[in-house]
């Protein structure tokens, strides 16, 4: 076990190191001024340029620069955005929780809808209900997420007028920023109409969450359904039946566990899809998350922001993925060679 | 007369790590010594996990033994080039199902063997393959067949064809009949016996089935935990087993046979 842990930590460190190297070298690869790409500051004069170059050790060897870069990353000095001149750490600490909040809810929704639906479909497969489930999953898996979001907006916001179509909460509610998770912040906030604000935030959450969750739900359904079908067809289920165990006993003690085991690594794989979808959906719903932020940054050619944004998001995803893979590997005795399930 | 196959002091160490908590298990096969003449059959038998399969793989060169030598017609097999060895010692495996690639036709499997080991041209290869197929009791048309179109027995025949298409000196067969049922097994046994007689090949034959071992072998070798515990001509060993384990093995087999005859 320790061995496994060490191996995964090793892998994580290696991957993060590579990501840092990539983000560092991006400053040189991106078009424009390396100094600006690294610091985000556009030097107004030659003297200022020289001074800044000294600060960022651009006059020294590349290794010194890299070391300085890592030091800065660790100390939280991530430079400033070249378009707004605000500290990137600050911007990201506001934007990133918004995204995490969104994908967390989306993931929860897809888990709580997708997995049970998949199970029901898988157990009673080739029945009308299962047919419905499969159709639902194939169709929703085929939706381009941006189009789906637009359809949602058209139906629920514009036609029916039930739900708002942009932002996290009505801007008139001045929610102080503490954790970055809006629902949590509202609960902590000291404002007069807390309840209304909370309701409002919830209403704002519904459409973006649903847009992201639909695709993931479809994947979960397909995967769970296939997994449970495969497991319930395996010999040991028949063997257990022949031993006279009750259906419940068989399902919960054997089938469920074995079919859930491969779903965990699938969940890890979904994080990347979720983030990609979240980035698109955020721009449509003007959700002030990291995806929207990075996409705005690319529109404005704000290279320092892109660099750091990419680093933060990918480190987050990679860390999470590796952790989940480690957990699934650790709790699954049967897989000496772990395999990702195919969707 | 130079024996076709001579094995001297062959030792192979297999390291297994069952889990990360446990230390490395060592499994040592050998030392194995035997001599096999053309047209002879050596049967290897023993308990499950006694290292028979490992020995077979060492013989054909799928794994490299740490010590000892394998002499093919007096020449060291390790030193002579790989091609000669491939050419002269061939392997047949237990599960015909796993020895045939489901996505490739019989003809192209056999063709590849010829292509790699002979200088024949396309046409000659085809002729040779067809001859061999007929020899093992299949039809020329089987050239174009895929695995799933063949029954178990036919698949085992294809394995045999693959082994003998190069006219080898020795064929090593690792439990070739275990997965076959009695009537098909008899067919295959007959076929092998015929071919051996016709071509004078030496056979190393691994099996648990003492009935068949006794029937087709000239020499027997019994293994336990990697060691050869008894070896000799088939008749001597079956009539007068020396080692405890051998005796038990043979006794238990014959006790079943005896029980059978008691009924009459």
């Amino acid at each position: 076990m320790l061995n496994l842990l060490l191996r995964y930590i090793n892998l994580m460190v290696l991957t993060i190191a590579i990501l840092i190297i990539i983000s560092f070298s991006l400053a040189y690869v991106f078009p424009g001024d390396t100094l600006t790409n690294i610091s985000g500051i556009v030097p107004q004069s030659n003297e200022q340029r020289v001074a800044l170059e000294a600060v960022f050790k651009l006059d020294r060897s590349i290794f010194v620069q890299f070391w300085y870069y890592i030091e800065n990353l660790i100390s939280g000095d991530w430079g400033v955005s070249s378009s707004s001149q605000i500290s990137l750490l600050e911007e990201i600490s506001i934007a990133f929780p918004a995204t995490i909040e969104l994908i967390t809810y989306a993931l929860l929704v897809s888990i709580f809808i997708g997995i049970p639906l998949g199970f029901i479909g898988g157990i009673w497969h080739h029945k009308p209900f299962d047919f419905g489930v499969v159709t639902f999953s194939v169709v929703s898996y085929s939706f381009p997420v941006f189009w789906l979001a637009l359809i949602f907006i058209t139906i629920f916001s514009l036609q029916l007028g039930y739900l708002p179509l942009s932002g996290r909460v009505n801007f008139l509610y001045d929610i102080p920023h503490s954790s970055g998770f809006i629902l949590w912040d509202i609960m902590l906030a000291d404002i007069p109409d807390k309840k209304d604000a909370f309701k409002d935030a919830l209403r704002h959450l519904i459409l973006p969450t649903a847009s992201i969750a639909l695709v993931t739900t479809a994947i979960f359904i397909r995967f769970t359904r296939r997994s449970i079908m495969d497991e319930m067809n395996k010999g040991y289920i028949d063997a257990a039946k022949s031993r006279g165990f009750t259906t419940k006993q068989i399902f919960f003690k054997h089938g469920l566990r074995n079919s859930l085991l491969p779903i965990l690594p699938l969940m890890a794989m979904q994080i990347s899809t979720l983030i990609t979808n979240a980035m698109v959906v955020e721009t449509i719903f003007s959700w002030p998350g990291i995806g929207n932020w990075i996409i705005q940054a690319i529109y404005q050619r704000d290279y320092p922001a892109i660099r750091i944004g990419m680093l933060v998001v990918s480190v987050f995803v990679v860390t999470l993925t590796i952790t989940i893979e480690f957990i699934s590997r650790a709790i699954d005795p049967a897989r000496d060679k772990f395999q990702r399930g195919a969707v | 007369m130079i024996p076709v196959l001579e094995v001297k002091n062959l030792i192979y160490t297999y390291r297994v790590r069952r889990s990360i908590f446990k230390p490395v298990d060592e499994f040592i096969v050998g030392p194995v010594d035997f001599v096999l003449n053309a047209g002879e059959t050596l049967a290897v038998t023993g308990h499950n996990g006694s290292g028979k399969t490992l020995l077979a793989r060492a013989l054909v060169g799928a794994i490299t033994p740490q010590q000892g030598s394998i002499l093919l017609e007096g020449k060291k097999a390790e030193q002579s080039d790989k091609k000669t060895r491939n050419h002269n010692i061939r392997l047949i495996l237990q599960h015909s199902k796993y020895s045939l690639n489901p996505a490739v036709t019989v003809g192209s499997v056999l063709g590849q063997t010829l292509l790699l080991n002979t200088e024949l041209n396309e046409q000659e290869r085809k002729t040779k393959i067809e001859q061999t197929l007929v020899k093992v009791g299949l039809l020329r048309e089987h050239y174009y067949f895929y695995r799933h179109m063949l029954s178990d027995g036919q698949q085992q025949r294809v394995s045999l064809a693959r082994a003998m298409i190069l006219d080898p000196k020795v064929i090593v067969a690792d439990e070739p009949f275990a997965a076959l049922d009695p009537s098909v097994r008899s067919q295959t046994v007959n076929l092998i016996l015929d071919i051996q007689q016709e071509l004078g090949m030496a056979f190393v034959f691994i099996s648990q089935n003492l009935g068949i071992v006794r029937h087709i072998s000239d020499k027997v070798m019994i293994m336990d935990k990697g060691k050869v515990i008894e070896a000799g001509s088939s008749k001597t060993v079956f009539d007068d087993p020396q080692h405890e384990v051998t005796r038990k093995l043979i006794d238990s087999h014959f006790s079943l046979v005896d029980k059978h005859f008691e009924q009459f």
């Binding site: 010999g235 006279g244 005795p333 | 996990g49 098909v184 029937h215 238990s252 005859f261």
Partner: protein
Amino acid sequence: MRLLDVKNLTVEIDTGSVFVKALDKVSLTVETGEIRALVGESGSGKSLIVRAIIGAIPDHWIITADRLTWKGQNLLTMSNEQRRIIMRREIAVVFQDPTSSLDPSATLRSQLEESIPEELLDKGMFWQRNKQRREIAIGLMHKVGIKNHEACMQRYPHEIAADIAQKFMIAMALVSEPELLIADDPTRSMESTTKNQILRLLSGLNETRKLAILFVSHDLLAISSMAHTMTVLYCGQTVESGKVKHLHRRPLHPYTKALLDSAPSFQINLPPKSHLVALPGTIPTLKHLPIGCRLGPRCPNARKECVKVPEQKMVHQHSYSCHFPLHSPVDDDLETKQ
């Protein structure tokens, strides 16, 4: 008493395009205390019979039978719950493929202990019962010849060798002290010592506890050493069935004869390296079964009539399905008495 009675069992399986009769009017009985062997070539439908008996046939396959009863109760029409109770205590099964019949994510120990019926434990506090379970488990492991039980019980199925798994499966089957044990190829690829040990164990149980056994195998040696009666199957049709002794002495069906003759151990006078007796040809595949008697194309004395399915004929305990039996069917018992 007749424990298991299968009469004209037909199973049609879905091959994708059409339904084919993988089992065609198979009949089989197991009496109390009887060891019945079920032989046949690979793919002849032995395991299918086992699955039909225990009810592990996929829903969309068609299963019909004149009789499929356990102690007179119809297994086909009874509720799942009734069937489950019977399976729990009265019938036990050893499956053909041991490793895949074990839950890959549970230790052997937990699987074995789970199988111990509550009734076998003395009432007591749960830790006492846990201890009892453990003891029963260890006892069984020793019984089937797994000496190193400690190392084995903590393992997961994929970590153990196939032969150990096989023994373990037998242990699991015996734990509920059943009346009928259905063992599907329990001795496959075992060396003869171990095989002998298992056979002795089973025969012992049969004698002491009147355990009836349906012994599925193609190891004729094992069968003839312990089975009382035997049913021969070819391509999903029962070919011949009767006392082992009688079948050996006077097989009526050409296939039975070919099968028995093919084992070299039964031929004492067979010179080494001589040809074994074998039927020509190969077993037809499921999708291309011949009509009528399925042995037809391979049968040495096949004639026109063989395109009709032969009636099952019964002479005393000995039944056969052949238009042209090898011997004129005589009463075996009478013959022995002479």
